[in-house]
């Protein structure tokens, strides 16, 4: 879950890393007051969860509080990359002598976090790594052995930084590493980290991303930052159709029938499990099919849940038929899914044989499942029909019907 800059800065500040005396607001008049309090030139920054703010006109410089208010008013109305801003950040314009970079990420191959430091900041670190590799220091640190200052010192020193800058930077990088671990971040980055005329350092921008699975153990921090439990902070906001899918999944705790993502095709998909859904979605598209949605079923959901998901998909505007397909199941019961999807058709007044393009779920309780499908005349397939072949048949049926 990504944080807005004003939240990320607050997290940095709480970790004991110096930040500027910034203010956040959703109101242009208040932006003026903040600028007044700061006294002097300011920067007004759009608070959006997308890159390219500067280019889009989401970052503006103001000499006076009046100018700050005018910029804030404009930026608050400015959509960037499909996102309206959450608000604006009003920041004192610091006299920076040099910009540095400090960041922590996971290395999934080594299975340890990595500290990354560079005396070349303010630009994308990957670009620095490519163009000036000797200016980027890296070091893994242990998940279970104590974290100590010398590790940060080694990373910083390896980039040629020495003197008082080194000594002032060590606690900053160490604190950033601690913050990363303690808050279950998957990214914690200060860029740029500015060195001021008096030799002190200050975080001028920060990017933080907390692992979704760990949100439950940081409730206090999230509440204090004002992050709502319903905020997914995905690359795009959930649609009403997707939210309805979540409700279907939440109706009981048996198995999964959800993870719905909306697309704009005519073939509704009731597919599973995790890997099976990915494979099937690709297969439908490879055969020229237009999926109306992505979803996942698995872990042996109840009849009610399978029915709820099928109903949701069937009722989606533009959906002509649904394809019910999974990789071979061992935990989920074929007959339960069959019952669920047939029930959905019947309750909506549809003929299951007409609405279900194909049912391809082999595995546990398949004999029972196939019997039910036969009774309603639904086309089904066992494991001798591949996922790819099943997807092809579904597409053929729907394209044939559309002509």
């Amino acid at each position: 879950m990504r944080f807005f800059e004003y939240e990320a800065r607050e997290v940095v500040k709480r970790a004991g890393i110096p930040v500027t005396d910034f203010g956040f607001t959703t109101d242009a008049g208040e932006a003026r007051e903040i600028a007044q309090r700061i006294g002097g030139p300011t920067v007004i920054k759009s608070q959006v969860l997308t890159g390219g703010r500067m280019k889009a006109g989401g970052v503006k410089f103001a000499e006076t509080p009046e100018e700050a208010e005018a910029h804030a008013r404009e930026i608050l109305q400015l959509e960037i990359g499909g996102h309206m801003p959450r608000g604006v950040l009003v920041d004192p314009r610091a006299e920076v002598e040099q910009e540095y970079y400090a960041g922590i990420v996971w290395d999934g191959t080594r299975k340890q976090p990595v500290m990354i430091f560079s005396p070349v900041g303010g630009i994308d670190i990957e670009q620095v790594a490519e163009e000036q590799p000797d200016k980027v220091g890296r070091r893994h640190f242990s998940n279970i052995l104590p974290l100590s200052d010398f590790q940060a010192k080694e990373v910083i020193a390896s980039t040629g930084v020495t003197g008082s800058a080194l000594n002032r930077l060590v606690p900053i990088l160490t604190r950033l590493a601690k913050l990363f671990v303690e808050n279950d971040m998957i990214l914690a980055e200060i860029n740029p980290l500015g060195r001021l005329a008096d030799g002190s350092f200050v975080a001028l921008d920060a990017h933080m991303d907390m692992e979704n699975e760990a949100r439950g153990r940081h409730k206090r921090l999230l509440t204090e930052l004002g992050v709502g439990e319903e905020e997914t902070r995905q690359a795009r906001e959930a649609t009403p159709f997707e939210l309805a899918g979540e409700q279907v999944d939440a109706q009981d705790h048996r198995g999964v029938a959800g993870n719905v993502t909306e697309f704009d095709g005519n073939l509704g998909l009731v597919i599973g499990a995790g890997g099976g859904s990915l494979t099937l979605f690709d297969a439908v598209r490879a055969h020229g099919g237009k999926p109306a949605n992505y979803c996942e079923i698995g872990g042996n959901p109840s009849v009610a849940k399978a029915c709820g998901l099928a109903k949701l998909v069937l009722q989606k505007p533009g959906v002509d038929k649904i394809a019910v397909m999974m990789s071979i199941v061992s935990n989920t019961r074929v007959d339960i899914v069959a019952r669920g999807v047939i029930k959905a058709c019947l309750e909506l007044g549809y003929d299951p044989a007409e609405k279900i393009a194909i049912f391809r779920i082999p595995g546990a309780w398949e004999e029972e499942g196939f019997k039910i499908l036969e009774k309603y005349g639904v086309e089904y397939a066992d494991r001798s029909v591949s996922l790819n072949e099943a997807a092809s048949r579904a597409v053929e049926k729907i394209e044939g019907a559309a002509v």
Binding site: T261, S277, L278, S330, A364
Partner: protein, 319 residues
């Protein structure tokens, strides 16, 4: 032969009294020669039995009751308690831990893996279905009830490694139908950080005489495929590999995760197309469709074993 487990492997089930774990224990006891499930652990349930398996409060009690070291553990406890359960297993001498639990934050996984490495233990998962040696033993829910598992898995020369539990069975079933059995199939889990990656399991398959080829299921997200490509190139592996890449559609949707937590594309190296290129460069064939896999791996094995000209790249063949 097989990798990781065989007919003599002893293991416990941590969280054995949970609904899914009770089924899992039954399935393992019923499959093949019957797994040696020597105990179960659920705190507060000492003295109970699950399908004849004695339940203990602690792993130490299970080890004491067994009278000697216990090799493995299947961990099926809720995410908030998984790290402690795995630490407990490791500190009581367990060598192989299969973590079934989903939705464990990666910091916890990383801690578990590092402690395991320190103690010489191995973790499979989390968010996985476990390991199966066809007709011999299974450790975890892989393949489901004994009857269903027997339908999909048959003994043979192919090692299977998969980030998806369900697709482990789908691919193995396709191989079996084509007359290609499996030496061992491993569901390694769908998370961003896992105990054992493709590259970390390859040396075991490499050393297993029964194994003649490898089939893997891969997805977008992470650097695990790049790691495998590097391993294969650096170690001049004798084993041909066929990979199936699912989730190609995700390349158009950066920042979104589908299927498994680990599928989120965080950089351009994580995309399906980038991975396909990398795998291909290392000589790994990438299948477009599951049904193409048997023929691809069959001809790849024939190529390695047949022509001495290929021996340079293959590093010689034992087949």
């Amino acid at each position: 032969m097989s990798i990781l487990i065989d007919a003599d492997t002893t293991f416990i089930v941590q969280g054995i009294t949970g609904r899914e774990a009770v089924n899992l224990a039954r399935e393992c006891l019923d499959y093949g020669v019957g797994a040696k499930v020597v105990g179960g652990v659920t705190p507060g349930r000492l003295g109970r039995e699950v399908h004849g398996v004695p339940v203990f409060d602690t792993v130490a009690q299970a080890v004491a009751h067994h009278g000697s070291a216990i090799y493995g553990s299947v961990v099926t406890v809720p995410p908030a308690f998984t790290k402690d359960a795995v630490f407990e297993a490791i500190e009581n001498g367990v060598q192989l831990i299969v973590i079934v639990t989903e939705r464990i934050p990666r910091r916890d996984v990383a801690e578990m893996v590092e402690l395991a490495t320190l103690r010489g233990a191995r973790i499979i998962g989390p968010n996985c279905l476990g390991i199966i040696v066809p007709d011999v033993i299974k450790m975890g829910g892989i393949g489901g009830p004994a009857k269903n598992a027997a339908q999909a898995y048959t003994p043979g020369p192919i090692g299977v490694i998969s980030r998806s539990g369900g697709m482990t069975t789908e691919m193995s079933s396709t191989l079996s139908a084509a007359g290609l059995g499996q030496s061992t199939a491993v569901s390694i889990g769908g998370d961003a950080i896992i105990g054992s990656t493709y590259a970390e399991l390859m040396p075991l398959f490499e050393a297993d005489e029964q194994t003649q080829g490898i089939v893997i299921y891969t997805e977008p997200g992470g650097r695990m495929e790049a790691e495998l490509a590097r391993w294969v190139t650096e170690n001049r592996s004798r084993l041909p590999i066929v990979a199936f890449m699912a989730g190609r559609f995700m390349d158009e949707m950066p920042g979104m995760s589908f299927g498994h937590a680990g599928t989120i594309v965080e950089g351009k190296e994580d995309t399906a197309s980038e991975k396909i290129t990398r795998l291909a460069q290392a000589g790994i064939s990438v299948a477009e469709r599951i049904e193409d896999i048997p023929e691809m791996i069959r001809s790849a094995i024939a190529e390695r074993s047949g022509t001495p000209a290929g021996a340079g790249a293959a590093g010689g063949s034992q087949v």
